[in-house]
Amino acid sequence: MSSMIQAAEEGRPGGLPYQQILPAPRWVDGHPTLGEITGDVVRAMEARPGKGWWICFAIALAALGNLGVMVAYLFAKGIGIWGLNSSVGWAFDITNFVFWVGIGHAGTLISAILLLFRQQWRNSINRSAEAMTIFAVMCAGLFPLLHMGRPWDAFFIFPYPNQRGPLWVNFRSPLVWDVVAISTYLTISLVFWYLGMIPDLATLRDRAAQGIKKAVFRLLSLGWNGSHRTWSRYEMVSIILAGLATPLVVSVHTIVSMDFATSLVPGWHATIFPPYFVAGAIYSGFGMVMTLLIITRQTMHLERYITMRHLDAMARVLLLTGSIVSYAYATEFFSAWFGGNLYERFHFINRATGPYAWGFYIMVLCNAITPQLFWFRKARSSVAVLFVASVLVNVGMWFERFIIIVVSLHRGFLPSSWAMFYPTVFDMGILVGAFGLFFTCFLLFIRVLPMVAIWEVKGTVGHGAHRMALSDDESAPEVAHG
């Protein structure tokens, strides 16, 4: 490595520009100059959106409209319009809630955990992954609200001085922990996302001609002027936030799993739930990141920054987390058999052979078998295979939550109250509508805000040059190979 740097440095006065001698940065194709990086990312926002974007947006908007209508009807009539009954009191609503919270986790993993591990490949995908987190948590937050039946009384879940005693919320309940965890998670994710965007907003501000656009970017960029003294503090704060967000993200899905694990229901009452849920969350989130990045790179032409190597790295994460999830499925069955509890054993036999067995096999097919494809380089390097597999991962993870929630509830301890859950058109409509909300937000985001972190990509690309200047700095990670 150092000999390469030396060669590059020696070669420079010989007439060759050192860019040709420096090895290519690993996570960006070619040698874009700093100005080209700004141009490439901003061009995608300044150009008129292509046909692909409009088609996606029209579909998403239609689904969002559908959500509005369904929710209005739900508020007017009450949750009796869903397929719930007294045995299956949680179904699509809580399934969707857990599904969307899980999706959010990959964004934090990419932005925080990979930052702590100094993984350079996060730099061109972290911005959109963080945006995804925020939109996913918004969708997740919708469902407990709808599920309450009287959403206008939603403020009851917050501990505020009231005239009913004051009767405080029950702080021993995981449901209350959940409220605090999800609100904290949304707040910290929003702050992290916005803070990361400030330098890029300043770049946009300085490119914009006078007008509304400039005024808006000026307001949002808080007067950022690129001072290194500020950069130095800014990077420290990013690391601190990453350090805070890492245990936070683990705590969020742990607490979500405790909503189930602290109950006595067979299929829920399991100590394996917290790690199992966290792994599943990261798995489903990476599936969604993959879907979104493939759409973004194809419709916005960012192949140079979101490279096949990025997709390959994500496919490997899917393989790892998918295998952890499969191992957890196996462990659940093993504990049910080995633990000797009759109810637990019945539940798992029912899961694999009962009336919802089809859902169980969809889950196994999508979550345990699909990611095994990624052992093969051919599968990891085909955009089509990656796209289909990432969608299947999300289908599988939705079914996982459905299986955990509905199958556990529909045949409980008392056979006389066994029941089936059949989704109504409103269950389906709200499920589809949440996707509409999510994709509408995301498609608007990639139009109006920089979906690739311009300054972080510049840092990645400029890294080789700075190694040359600091050739005695052994602590700098090596990135500029291959």
Partner: protein, 170 residues
């Protein structure tokens, strides 16, 4: 209050870094560097002190934790005890998840607020760019104007794209 500065503009971080090292080796003062991305290693080269912001995180985090524990203890034990499933009024272990969340929330928000205060970043602030393009593809090395000719000499030798004297409010 506008002051006078000596501003050298570069188009790559490499020459800027070497100039900074030369200047600091002679103990000359550097006002600041303006760059489109954080140049790693420049902190040491400029001999910047380590920021004290992590202390803000620690203190705010501890406050968040303390407030959460105290509030849960007050509501569940002192103000209105409730028997939930026979658990003790003071279920400290069950109060930990919320205490943890508030530690993170308070620590995170306070750190960001402290950064914005310290760096004087706030909505509506008019940006003051020392040269055009420092948020895009230019690097600017800014020295306070001095009577000694040495800083100017070093900057000239470093081969900047442009070297100028400027009045600015930085």
């Amino acid at each position: 209050m506008a002051r006078e500065f000596l501003v050298a503009t570069y188009s790559d971080a490499n020459s800027l870094m070497k100039t900074v090292e030369t200047l600091r080796a002679e103990n000359l003062k550097i006002h600041d560097v303006y760059a489109p991305y954080p140049i790693h290693g420049l902190d040491q080269a400029m001999r910047l002190n380590r920021t004290r912001l992590p202390w803000v995180t620690l203190i705010a985090g501890l406050c968040g934790c303390g407030v959460a524990l105290a509030f849960q203890f007050y509501t569940a034990v002192l103000d209105w005890g409730m028997n939930v499933g026979g658990k003790p009024d003071n279920s400290t272990l069950a109060f930990l998840p919320i205490a943890f969340e508030l530690t993170v929330l308070a620590g995170g928000l306070a750190t960001v607020a402290a950064l914005l205060l310290r760096a004087r970043l706030y909505p509506g602030r008019r940006e003051c760019l020392i040269v055009e393009g420092v948020t895009d593809n230019r690097f600017a090395l800014v020295l306070p104007k001095s009577d000694s000719p040495r800083p100017r000499q070093i900057l000239e030798q470093s081969g900047p794209d442009k070297l100028e004297e400027k009045e600015a409010e930085l």
